[in-house]
Symmetry: D2
Subunit: 352 residues, 4 copies
């Protein structure tokens, strides 16, 4: 069994794309200026400017938590509210990091189907107690693309939320931990999915999709950029040998590796999903379009799979609901091997 | 000239030891649990326990700033004072990071020759307005080994400061950004230089001495360890693919690479120093024992070297004082090439 | 109309009890040590120890916000979660103050009828992702007595929540902005309502019930007390002429003024409530037992009352829901005058 | 002895001016809107606008710590440096409050005689590592008027520091804990001493000079004003019964009480100083011009005075240096009584 990827817990269990490792090795030549003043860093910033069809400023940080929290703190005053969906990663899984990076600011959650902010909820949120000094002030809207449940905002949906945000004088952040997975699913341009809809600052995730530990804060609104340098430094995110973070990004972007990787992850999720949908005992939850699938699965089936050495989250969010995540390193064989085991687990029980 | 390392600005201009890159590639096999629950991370923690002859807890973070500030915040209440030497990196070069990681705490500086805290100054500091609610309360002593000016605390000196610290009920942190350089200069054991003298938590620097971006918080006092997990996460330092940070540490520690690297850096500094001391026009400042040399050098000489493409800090701390730093990647040829240029620059002027 | 109190917006529109002003004038004699080291401050602490039948430590602060946030920060680590009811003042009306006083900590809300935390919800809350470093850790339970909607926890209810809290190793805070109103409604002892049920630290509100600007943090668990001094100072709450805050508290406690004041406020609310209940057009919401009444009232009626110069919150929480608050300074005449106007407003519309 | 004021420890040992108490009683009439929306608060703001010959925004807070830290946080980014004299209260006596109110910001101290910032030092400070992301960025200059050692900046001195500050794009704060004492000593207008020299925001101290617990943040640069409301609230400084803080300010300003009070305090310090200067055993330190005198006094003399029940700080700053502070409530009899005791203490020793 060891020849298969048997963990569907998260896409962060995958390793690193060989091309990324090679890019890192390539840049390990001689001396280079530290803290992002090197050639590779400039090149990576240039490359991201090309990708986004805009002259962007880029800050490499080591985690998505840092990318999100630095981005949010740069556009939210310390008495502000960050509006996000209730399922948002920044709401549930950051151990208070957004509040630590910006002491006094708060997260205010909104509803909406498929983990996507409902525009009507946002219209309420952007006006919530504005000017009332007893209440945190709506300042920022943060949306996750692809969402935490594997769904994807359409371009229209993003632009509509963007318009509500901008008309109210708020700023907009996108948590793009799985940016590439959403991009290839929508088959649109990075510009379309971001600044053209009003995104001011983006957490451009790369780690889950092939790099080692390189996330990029992509700043579309340059007024934010200067103070971001200081925010990055004082939060312990200014790496000295920054060239290696830039190199990861170069390896990731060159030859559209990031696009291919995301396509593979999404395709494997689609394959898995279509296999699951054949089983009446299993029902897919929500509208997975990227590389995450939530589904309801009988307990005996989940137990048997876990006992066989498969890994995935189960009953963490809701009883009998499991989460399967694929990555760029998931192969067709991995999925077929997993599906066979699922089929067997379902029929085994029937036999009993 | 391109075949020589010509920058003596800092040891962070060096790349990464090949063995470290290899260790990273080696661990890029299949899937691994994220956030430090993988095999490599456990192995690296075990290896550091062996190195320190103590069952330590280890947290990998991406920068020295993070290692220092997380360490300090774990042993300093938010109304506490961190006592350090005036030259301390945490005092001068962190853009307020210690205050950001622990809002309300302050740095209180002490004097002492060669960037080393004077014991008498420390005796005053640990008692400074204790119990007076109008004043930040002495809580923590932080010393840098090797120091920012290249000097080194002897074991006796560390233990004496440790005793003053502990007798006053304070805690002790060591900023070991250049830990290995100090260790090989003292030719002692890591245990001798740390917990045996009273160090509670150590920033174990590795990046400057051969890794890419892996620093370890080494916790000797285990009561600190549990809450450190939460501190690390909420500050954006919990890397998902932690195995690659652990792998860097493995490559760094295996076969005593870290010791060899530090010896090389120190030896090259010694070679450079002895070359400089032959010149009456140049006077070495302080007591360099590791891989940093401060010296007073005529302006015309510095200007000529800079014009030739050599790099180093000059007149940053004091007029006509320059800093030269060697690293594990500095070769004897690099130093000889630099010394030749220095000799030439000095005589050139004489000739004129 | 000017001879009546016509504002039922909040109990903080009332002035100060004459006895409190007198106590302040009385202590304005000669010199006194600052920062709480004076005779009056010691006397007030002693008096509160008598009131609570326990040797308590007391810290006077100028606002309820400060009392709540200092209390909470003293028993919640900066990655902790404060569990409170969704209606909690600390959740809705502090402009991020709990997060400002304790950067990184969060408020986690729970449900329950009548603004009271449901024990089953609390059982879930105290276990929520304990030990998971990606999530804020349950640390503190904060309950408001009397609640924000005018209901009151019974002693049994407090003790049950206290037991759940303590069995899980969490700490307990009581927001007693209207402590006296709850106390006289329950007709129990202050000890019964607090530390005997597990409360570790209490925001003992006095301003709404007769003082000028004196709230007391009453610390039952003395291990919190020492660091509280530093917390109070560094948050700008250590008043120099503290004797006048203590004097307010003395005037408030002497001759049971606080009990009488609360009885008056509650009685006036009861009178108002029984008058409202006679009108089929109006329905009281929830279970008011203290000095706050929420009720559903026809829009034409509210509009007419507002036009006549009466003041109260309307449609702030929910459409057509208004809030009436009485205070120690509300008289029977005030209530009758208001009821007459309400009756008139209701019949006026009928006539039309 | 009890009929005399015998404590010269600080001006905060005095009580409250009767006129202030009367103003508070006067405003205790009927109901009033909370949080500063009342008539008295508007009146006090208007009165301060008149005093400062400018349309200012005013925020009443309960302590000087809060006034200073809120002011500073409103004009300093969280990676900024506040430049102040080494003797500054915000540097020594706030238990980390400036860092708590603005997490990540730091205090950077400058030298200068008589506790006054030297213009040359300021010129260095405003340029210190500007643009270097490894260092806190010069953002704000804070000067104390009158200073902590009782000296006073001349108008020329303030304006010169103001010009350096403004030319460098920094903002300026004045800690006016003893504003009135400086004003009457200079015999100038409040406008001259503040915004005409470049002060953006002022901590207008009143507590030490006759009020109970009312300090005013006076905002000259209105761009700061809107966000100040939120800062005040979230830091627990938004008093509900704000009318009583406003009333204190009204009583303080009406009929120039504040001017008379400050004149009395200064005159008594001058009387004391001239008495001290007659004694060769005692030497006045620095250049006292307000109501604080530091002097060197023989230990036997200090001991004898303390034994007799006089109070003052001794050997706190420097061995054998004592501090005497007078207040508006200090009388000529108090000073003569103290001087007699000092003369006696000096001669007593001589006799022995």
């Amino acid at each position: 069994m060891s020849t298969y990827n048997t963990a569907f817990t998260s896409d962060n269990l995958a390793g690193v794309s060989p091309q990324v490792l090679e890019a890192m090795a390539r840049c390990n030549e001689g001396q280079a200026d530290p803290y992002g003043r090197d050639k590779c860093s400039r090149q990576a910033e240039k490359m991201l400017s090309d990708v986004f069809e805009k002259d962007v400023r880029v800050f490499f940080v080591s985690t998505g938590t840092a990318a999100n929290c630095l981005s949010l703190s740069s556009i939210t005053p310390p008495w502000g509210a960050v509006l996000c969906h209730h399922d948002g990663h920044i709401n549930h899984d950051e151990c208070g990091a957004p509040e630590f990076f910006n002491p006094g600011a708060r997260v205010l959650t909104l509803d909406g189907v498929d983990s996507k902010i409902d525009p009507e909820a946002l219209k309420w949120g952007v006006k919530h107690r504005v000017g009332d000094m007893h209440s945190s002030q709506p300042a920022t809207v943060s949306l996750t693309q692809a969402t935490e449940s594997g769904s994807i905002y359409t371009l229209d949906e993003i632009c509509r939320l963007g318009a509500i945000t901008k008309n109210s004088g708020l700023r907009m952040h996108m948590d793009g931990a799985r940016f590439a997975n959403a991009l290839v699913a929508l088959n649109c341009s990075p510009a379309d999915m971001t600044w053209k809809c009003g995104v001011d600052v983006l957490s451009f995730g790369a780690t889950k999709n092939g790099t080692m530990s390189a996330e990029a804060i992509v700043v579309f609104d340059k007024t934010i950029a200067q103070e971001m340098s200081f925010r990055v430094k004082r939060s312990g995110q200014l790496g000295s040998k920054m060239r290696f973070m830039a190199a990861q990004m170069l390896g990731y972007l060159e030859n559209d590796l990031w696009i291919q990787n995301a396509r593979q992850a999404n395709a494997m999720a689609a394959l898995l999903k279509s296999g699951l949908e054949k089983l009446p005992e299993i029902s897919v939850v929500g509208s997975p379009q990227a590389n995450i699938i939530f589904c309801k699965i009988p307990k005996y089936c989940a137990d048997r799979l876990l006992a066989q050495g498969f890994h995935f989250y189960h009953s963490k969010w809701e009883k009998d609901v499991v989460r399967f995540v694929t990555s760029f390193s998931t192969t067709e064989q991995d999925v077929q091997h997993f599906l066979s085991a699922i089929y067997e687990a379902v029929s085994y029980q029937k036999a009993v």
